[in-house]
Symmetry: D2
Subunit: 289 residues, 4 copies
């Protein structure tokens, strides 16, 4: 695993088991698999420091939703939205009093990194409407949703974690959902897999510099991270030496522009359904263009 | 002036004088005009409450830069960048210790409202580099710049002023520069005029609901607002009744997509030159794509 | 009618009747109205030269589909797709041997003019697949569809009609469907109305210079024009004098970027259903992202 | 060379020499190198069938312009524009009577494939203005330029070569310049290298299926191809097996969206200077946004 970078706990777990000569288990890691139609849900729980060290991930639950037909099938897309909503609600309780801050991470000007900001643009935002006395659109029992796409350090000059912390202190949400593009080791996972985790986030961690994370311990608010692999690390598939002064390479699929769009819609509507349990996917698709 | 909405103090001043039967002056308003090549700089100072009430604008200095050839002439563009930089530096002192937070207001998904976020994407961001001990790129004496494009209430659910306040408290800048698209009364001003003001901003004020403003008094930080008219209000040129339930209309030029691009580049490089006085326009254009 | 420019025959007809003191009819113009749920279909037939002269439109059938809820309701969108398909098939016979060339007119870099190229990007293109011996995707009985978005004279330097003629001579379609953004007189029609006509097209006619049209007479191929109003002419709502040297103004809705997207999807899927009668809207939405 | 796909003759030549144990030359291939400031120009001439077979390229001249600082330096950009113009004019005579058709190849919806259509949008188009009797803008002695971005087979259903042939027969240009994104073997060449060739083009050749080419022999018009590598083939850097049913992978740089923009501007202005020798780069940048 040392040389292969993956943001997916399920891949890290597989590699660990492989390295340990296919031993059935890693101490501190529990996993189970469930089929929901053509979608497979794998839950990996990292329960102690050994598990955390071995998989290179923080303690917590990592849910992997594999939907191999997501790109081609409307039915898989619809089912994936429901499964995402169920799994989010399995991690935390959401009712009409909950205020959720959704954070779209990543750089919107780099196509495979634009997932987070694209998801934010497809959300049903309600916080400002709830505050109006006479909200006729959604009725009384709608949960509060607000959202930001803060940008990345290179374009803002500000640590993304600082922006999230600042806005969070002002808005005082009960829940933060952070959406980001991930790197996977297996090219077959690009755009077909959604990972949902309650282990918090480390904005900027992807580029090598580990800044302090945002999680329930550090900020006192439940943080659910949702990610979709959109690239595989060039180092993962190659042995070539890449000169340091070059722009970092990325390996992705030729249709990434279209793939990001579909993946963003799936994640956004999964979140919309999770936060607004009274609405159907059809309602949500009518409200949000 | 009652029925004509304009964000430009210079237009409000002209209208006031016209209503007052071409009286030469309005009490509490001082103005002067300066030519810089083919660019005209008009400075309107609103000095008392009568001036403020008559023009419908907060007290402060409003500088209008008219560059009728901006769209066609590279030389006008270059001169406009310099003039913007000079006028910003005329309003406040900037040195290598200054940290500036630039805020790009408006909705990036609505073309004529995307000026602010477009400007932010063209800035030379230095705050995170200054903090590195060995900044080889810009040398020692570079001022600190960070930036955000917070979005609008309808897409974030959060008052834009609250996001700015929150980030500002975290970053602690000495100067805030806020960039926004404006509405003008005169179609000839669309995309040819830049207004720079130290009177603060009221995000969301444009749509009718006056929320509390951000200015030196309310947040203890100098706030410079820079705007470019990109639309004229439909009500301004028309007598038709627009049904309430309809989307608000806008009147703009057919080439607005291209015009916004040129205007954003002009404002961004004007700011870049103001904040990094050691750099030339050529330097800036090399650093920022 | 002289001073009000509209591309919609139904508006021209109303204005003519109004000018003729609400006389019930214009010689050479027959119209009827049909309700399909919340959608109204008005068919205006211009049958002789007097009708053509009075309405300022070529002879032929003009079908206007009014779907006031298109922007908000998924059901209206789905019904509008079906109605468009029915009305296209009412104008011409399409079977699995038909080859259709769809032409997306307009300038993709100007938001309200990008409808045509946006529609083309959402079509189910089959011509090149039909030619493969073993087309496993769509089965045997699929009609042939190819498409181009030729650009506009100002960006290509070539008359758009010449490009269409050239490609048409090479491809030899049995049917041409041309899609374009239109100007309406009534702001309530912007993005809620679809006009379908068999009277041919005059690319570039909108900007004042009437070049020779493309229709069944001039090129020997049935030409169906589909348009959606995305702007109202500034002259229509205003009495102001617009200086000649200025960019032409347009009046449109603030949410035009989003509105174009929904309108393009409706027209594209209406065409997809018309040309591939064996497919459902669900099939089409699965194939085309 | 068998397993490494490159569109660059200069790379194919190097590989051939390497395979032939560093023999100094390949029969049928002549090359020379010239320095122009920080830009290196390598001219590879394939003069007979052996050279063509060995390098896997058609007979003709292939000029490679290496500008390693293109991404960072405005001066390199300006010099590169001049060098491109000189090299184009070295391949063919252009005067004010010449009509050139520029063709932007590739799929504008796939970022690294959008180079061609992006270049076309930055050209100084004159053909339709020359035909006006009173062209006041550019004066008498301007060469004629028209342009199309025909799309790709997958989105049009029409062989791109057929569209080019059709438009060419209608417009009757004396010169065709075709611009396309290329694949390189060496990642250091991505976006720093421009190849100019008079050996014609094979649209769609990149994806494996060799359709009949467009060159002076087959269509009787000089065809100059200009390309910039924007990707390296995944197969080139990797030994992994990519499942057939997956979307083809691509390897590119993370900043490809920005890189394409700079490369497109360089190629477009190189062409603008070649076709309008009376204009300076400054003129061109004023005319074209």
């Amino acid at each position: 695993m040392q040389n292969i970078r993956t943001d997916l706990a399920v891949e890290a777990h597989e590699m660990s088991k492989r390295e340990a000569k296919n031993s059935a288990s890693v101490d501190g890691v529990i996993s189970d698999v469930e089929k929901k139609g053509d979608i497979t849900v794998t839950r990996v729980k990292i329960t102690n420091d050994n598990g955390s060290r071995t998989l290179g991930k923080a303690k917590g639950t990592y849910i992997t939703i594999d939907a191999p037909n997501l790109k081609y099938s409307l039915e898989t897309y619809e089912r994936a939205c429901s499964v995402i909503a169920e799994e989010i609600r399995g991690l935390t309780k959401i009712d009409s009093d909950t205020l959720t801050l959704v954070v779209g991470l990543g750089n919107r000007e780099i196509t495979p990194d634009a997932l987070g900001s694209s998801v934010v643009s497809k959300l049903l935002i309600t916080h400002h409407i709830k505050e109006c006395s006479d909200n006729e659109i959604f009725g009384e029992n709608i949960s509060g949703v607000c959202a930001i796409a803060p940008g990345v350090l290179g374009t803002t000059g500000i640590e993304t974690a600082d922006i999230i912390r600042a806005v969070s202190e002002k808005v005082k949400p009960q829940l933060i959902i952070a959406v980001d593009a991930l790197a996977a080791a297996d090219i077959e996972r690009v755009s077909n897999t959604i990972q949902i985790s309650d282990a918090g986030i480390q904005p900027g961690a992807g580029v090598g510099n580990n800044r302090d994370g945002l999680n329930e311990e550090t900020i006192g608010i439940k943080v659910i991270a949702i990610g979709v692999p959109t690239v595989i690390d060039a180092a993962t598939i190659s042995k070539i030496k890449i000169p340091k002064e070059l722009s970092p390479l990325m390996v992705t699929t030729k249709d990434i522009d279209l793939v990001i769009e579909r993946a963003a819609k799936t994640v956004a509507n999964g979140i919309n359904l999770a936060l607004h349990s009274r609405l159907t996917l059809r309602d949500v698709e009518s409200y949000v263009s």
